[in-house]
Each structure stands twice: as C-alpha cells, then as structure tokens.
C-alpha cells in the first residue's frame, strides 16, 4: 500500500508546476553561488599557497644575522581550505586566514575577509550554504504545506479512508514520495557541484566522505522539514493555517534560533574583551602563575640553576650563550601562560557553541549549520586544530634558532650568526586537515540535536496520522 502512495506522490510532485518553478529558480541560485564560491575558494587557495611560498622564500633569503633576529623576521602560515569549503565557507569570513608566527608571543589569526568587505555585506551574505539550509527548506514548505489538507479540501481523503488506507501509511508514503521527487530535482545540481569540485580540486577519499556526509545530513534536515510540514498539513483543518504555521517555523528555525542561541550563549558564557585577554596574559607572565613567583624571582632562580649546572660562578664564564638560554626559559614560561589563556578562550568558544543549542527547540537549523561547517572543515574545531599545528611549528623554528644562538655564542655574548643555509634548513609549514572522524567527533552534539529533531518530527507525523480524520 505504502509503495503505491510513494509512487503516486512522486509522480504528482514531479508533475506539480510548483516543484519545477521553485526548483529551477533555487537550483539556478544554488549553482550561481556554488560557481562563485568555487572560484573564490580556488583563488584563495592559490593566493594562500603563493603568499606562503613567498613568505618562506623571504625567510630563506635573510642575510647573515643573529639567529634570534632572524626568528623575529617571523613566518606567515595559512590555513589550507578543504574542497568542501566551497559548499560552506563556515567561519572563514569571520576568523583570520593567516597566523603570524614570531618569538615570545602567540598571536591570534588575522586578516579575516569580513574586514575587507563593504558595509552592505556585513548585514549578511548569501552563500551556497544559505541556499542549502535556508531556501531549500522553504521550497519544501511550499510544496508540502497542503499535502494532506488539500486532500481533505478536495475530498480525496474520504476516498482514501473508504479504501481503508492506514493514515500512517498515507503520511509516511507522502513523506517518502516527496523526498524522492525532491532529490530527483536536486540531483542534477549536486552532480554538477561534484563535477565542478572534481575539476577544480583534487578530491581525496576524505573529501568525498565529507561531501557524502554533508549530503546525508542535509537529507535528514530536509526530511525534518518535510515531516513537520506534512504533520502540520494533517493537523490543521485548512491549508492556509498550515502555511502560516510552517512559515513561522521556518523563520524561527532559520533566522531566529541562531540569533537567540548566540545571544543566550554570549550572556551565559561571555568572552573576555581583546584588551582584557592580552592584559591577563601579560600579568600572568609578569606576576607568575600560582606558586611560580614573579618574573624577577623566576629569572634569578633560573640563573642560579644554570650556573650550578655548568659549575661556574658567573654568566660570563658559561660555555654556551646565556642570553639564548634565558630567552628560551622565558619563552617556555610564556608558552605555558599563552596556552592556558588560549585554551580557556577556545574552550569558551566551544561552550558557547554548545549553548547556542538552547535555542534549538525552535528548529534544526543551528545543528545543520554547525554540521555543515564541520564537514567543510570550516568550524571552530578545525580552526583550533590548525592553530595548534601552527603553534607547534612556531615552537619548532624558534627552538631551532635558539639552538643556533646558544651553541654559537658563549656567556653573555650576543654575536652568534646564522646564514642562508641555516634559514633554508627550516622546514616549511605543512598542515594536513584532520580526517572526517575528527569532524564528526567535534560535531557530535550537533548530530545528536539533528537526530533528536528527526525523531521528534517523525513522532509528530505519527501523532498527526493518529488523529487524522477525513
């Protein structure tokens, strides 16, 4: 019985002019945005690669100088974007694209694209992901708001009841038939998108897995909207009331919930201001963390320890460069303090991201936004992974220059020198984005919220079927 309903819904939906008009318009918009974002991503990847190469070459070709001075020249590193970022730029417009790695200090990412944009764009920018998470659900609402109420209004529901059809079979058949037709209309655009990605980037197995996972998650998201729409259509006596309620649900899920969630998260777990953040780091370095003593006390203790280790009474008599040793010691402490504050800040970002789900009762859009960003590798977790890798690289090249400085000087001298062959021996920063398992683990809560919504939507559909009368 349900197969007949699915087939009928599939055929009827495909013959419905609304699907084609809305479908063609939305798919044209989708492909337009996708082409633009693929082009932008390709350009950005090229720019990042080329600027990264230039920055490394500038590092390599430094003149003969003190290794620590060379370290102060610094190195720019860039977060490489995955091909799936063409579907969802995620946090890219708001977080920095590069990290300036220098001695003594850990930096935040800088040069976010949003700072380069015109004012109008700051009020919201249409992207491929906007079409996927905002406009396509609207199309589903437009197609399904009257799926059952129209049957009641036209009398076909009585005909169906007279044939003893189970209401559950009817509504679930409608859901599956509609989704099948919807996917058929959507599939050319998805295929074109996949071809475009394949043409412009080399897609690895992880990229394909990420795209497939995104596709599945969006399918669940659309199923939720379709199930809620059909349930509303069965629940309300007229199509008009169902449409009003569904538009309210769409607005609440897509536009209100993310803002409400963000405000709630910021209120419950606020971030420190930038000035307070840096000030706290500065204070902790100067005053020391609990039980460590002040900077001066730590410096005196370190000096005494070094003299004891080398069996000399004066710094000037040390067989290695004390200036470098002392700097490494101070930097080590600074790294510890920076790590503490950076982790605290980023942990708070993660807490805030979880807290936004307090508004997820309004709809599943917060969850799909987060999941889409995670699959595109453009969420906070991927950003943090990149920053940690960059920080590790910073330790690597700073330690290397300090080794040269320490080994090529004695006592309190500052005359150690390095040359181009030294600078060239510093390996380039190579970052590999983590695998899909990392993304799924990071987005576990979002996935649970999405699945919770799917369960709720299917329950709603079942309940509406139970009380369906002709």
């Amino acid at each position: 019985m349900i197969a007949a309903i699915i087939r009928k819904e599939f055929v009827s939906t495909l013959r419905d002019g609304r699907l084609w008009i809305l479908g063609i318009v939305l798919l044209a918009i989708f492909l337009g945005f996708f082409l633009a974002s693929t082009h932008e991503l390709k350009q950005m990847r090229q720019e990042k690669h080329s600027v990264g190469m230039t920055a490394k070459e500038q590092w390599n070709t430094q003149s003969v100088k003190n290794p620590h001075s060379a370290a102060h020249y610094g190195i720019y590193v860039f977060k490489p974007d995955l091909p799936s970022a063409a579907l969802d730029p995620g946090l890219r417009p708001f977080v920095g694209q590069s990290l300036w790695l220098e001695p003594h200090k850990r930096n935040l990412t800088r040069f976010s694209p949003s700072t380069d944009q015109i004012l109008a764009n700051r009020f919201g920018q249409a992207t491929t992901s906007f079409v996927l998470y905002a406009l396509l659900p609207l199309m589903i609402v437009a197609l399904t708001f009257n799926s059952v109420s129209q049957e009641r209004e036209r009398g076909t529901l009585r005909m169906l009841h007279s044939l003893g059809i189970a209401a559950r079979s009817l509504v679930f058949g409608k859901l599956l038939g509609l989704l099948a037709a919807f996917m058929l209309v959507l599939s050319p655009a998805l295929l074109i998108a996949l071809l475009l990605l394949g043409q412009n980037f080399s897609l690895g197995p992880d990229d394909v897995s990420r795209l497939l996972a995104s596709f599945l998650m969006f399918l669940i998201y659309y199923t939720i909207f379709a199930a809620v729409s059909i349930a509303a259509s069965a629940f309300f006596r007229t199509s008009r009331v169902a449409l009003f309620c569904l538009l309210a649900f769409w607005l609440a899920s897509v536009f209100i919930a993310p803002r409400l969630g963000a405000v709630t998260a910021e209120t419950l777990s606020p971030n420190p201001t930038a000035s307070r953040f840096w000030e706290a780091i500065k204070t902790d370095i100067a005053q020391g963390l609990e039980g460590d003593g002040t900077h001066e006390q730590r410096a005196q203790a370190f000096e005494a320890q070094v003299l004891r280790e080398y069996g000399v009474n004066r710094k000037e008599d040390l067989p290695v460069g004390f200036v470098s040793l002392n700097r490494q010691h101070n930097d080590g402490y600074s790294v510890r303090v920076h790590e503490l504050h950076f982790d605290r800040l980023r942990d708070n970002f993660a807490v805030q991201q979880h807290l936004t789900h307090l508004a997820s009762w309004l709809g599943p859009s917060i969850a799909i936004r987060s999941l889409s960003m995670a699959m595109a590798g453009m969420d906070l977790a991927h950003q943090r992974d990149f920053e940690d890798a960059a920080e590790e690289y910073r330790h690597y090249f700073i330690d290397l220059t300090e080794d040269w400085d320490r080994e090529r000087s004695h006592g309190t001298e500052r005359n150690a020198k390095g040359q181009e062959s030294d600078w060239r021996s510093v390996k380039a920063f190579e970052y590999q984005a983590p695998k899909i398992e990392f993304a799924l683990k990071a987005a576990l809560l979002d996935l649970m919220v999405l699945m919770g919504w799917l369960f709720a939507a299917l329950m709603l559909l079942t309940l509406s079927a139970n009380r369906l009368t002709p």
Binding site: V11, R154, R158
Partner: protein, 241 residues
C-alpha cells in the same frame, strides 16, 4: 428477508455531532442485489448514515453492520467489502483516469494490468481517448465513471453512493442509473443517498425517507408511482405527513 443475504444493516443507530443528533434510532437493512434509496432534505442524516458505514463517524448508540460485522471493530471490512462514490468523486488532478484507477485499486490491494484497467474504464462508460488524459480536464460525469470503475474493480459486496447523480446531465444520470442497476443485478447491495426522486424511482428497490435523523417512512419502490413518491416526499418535507 433472509438474514444471510443481508449486506448492510443499521440497528438503532444514533449519531450525534456535538449537541446535535444527526441520526436518531435508525434501522435499515439492505440485502444482496437491492438498491436502497435514502431520500430526504439537507441535514436529514442521509450522508451521515453513509459516513457511519464508512467509519468516518462512530455511532453514539446502536451499530452499523456490513455482512453482519461492525466495520468499527473490523476496519478491513470497509476496504474489502465496500465501494464508495461521493457526490463529487475526488480524484488526483495531475494524474490520468487510468492512473487514478490503478492507484485507488492498488490501495485496495488490487493490481490491474493496463488492459484490465482500460477495460474497466470503458465498461464504466469512459471513452478510450479520455483514459490517459489528466483528470483536471474531466467533467463531473467522467469522474463519476472513474469512480464507478474503481467500485467495479473492487468487486465489492456493497456500494455506498452519496448524491451520485447530483450535477449530472439527464443523459449521464440515466447512464449512471443503469450501471448501478446492473451492479445490483449482479448481487451488489447498494445504499444511495439522494435528492433525486426520479433517479430513486428509476433505480431503487426500496426507498426510505429521512427527516431530522429519523427514518420516517420506508416502502417498496415498485409499489409507488412517480407522482405518489413526490407527494410522500413533499408531505414529509412540509411536515404534513
């Protein structure tokens, strides 16, 4: 009447819509091969009676029986034994008559070949070139023919017709009446709610007149002339009987 030949029966049926009593202690019996016409004005309870057999309503008292069993307790009875034709046969506009027939039959568990479906539509009087046209272009009479084809395909033992000839032109109504008569002659029990006295006299074996939810008079259709039927109907309608 042999009770084993009884197909449709209402026993002391009472149906209320909120405070309003739509059917009040209704008793009626429709045996195999009989066309029973329920006459009455708007709100008399004719359609509610049909709806109760179809389980669209639940009785507040009494019961309806299909072949001796309550459809409210055995929901499959409606699907297996009853064919329903409303005043406006509701079909899916974006599908052809053939597709509609196939769809409704599939829901009833009947799978027809294209030839069988086409034959059923032709037997119901729908011209062959209309079989594959979308229903949106059908007249009311054409829709009734598709409805009749669905009913025929089910090989139902009972047909419930709710104002089936309302809005049909005389020729189509006459054609429809003949098909209903043929179905009854093949053993189907037909319960028909109608305003159409001419149609009732033409096709029915028994006639019941309803008023305010009650069956106020019941008689053999063959024993009354057209003018007598009209007088009886008007007398009840005007409260003179």
């Amino acid at each position: 009447m042999n009770t084993s030949s009884l197909v449709l029966e209402a026993r002391n049926l009472v149906v209320n819509y909120k405070q309003h009593r739509a059917i009040d202690a209704l008793n009626l019996r429709v045996p195999k091969g009989c066309v029973y016409a329920l006459l009455g004005g708007n709100g008399a309870g004719k359609s509610t009676t049909i709806s109760t057999f179809l389980t669209f309503n639940r009785p507040n008292a009494g019961q309806v029986l299909i072949e001796g069993r309550s459809p409210h307790e055995h929901p499959d009875l409606v699907r297996d034994k009853v064919a329903y034709l409303p005043e406006n046969v509701a079909l899916y506009e974006l599908m052809s008559g053939l597709e509609n027939l196939n769809f409704f039959c599939a829901l009833a568990g009947i799978h027809l070949s294209r030839e069988q479906a086409s034959q059923l539509l032709s037997d119901s009087g729908l011209q062959a070139d209309a079989h594959v046209k979308r229903v949106a272009a059908y007249s009311k009479g054409m829709r009734q023919k598709v409805g009749l084809a669905i009913a025929s395909a089910k090989h139902a033992s009972a047909m419930l017709l709710d104002e089936p000839t309302s809005g049909l032109d005389p020729s189509a109504a006459n054609d429809f009446a003949q098909r209903i008569r043929a179905a009854a002659d093949s053993g189907v029990a037909v319960l028909m709610a109608t305003h159409d006295l001419f149609n009732a006299k033409q096709v029915a074996d028994r006639i019941g007149i309803m008023k305010a939810g009650r069956l106020v008079e019941e008689f053999d259709a063959h024993t009354v002339r057209h003018d007598e039927l009209e007088q009886k109907y008007l007398a009840h309608a005007r409260g003179l009987a």
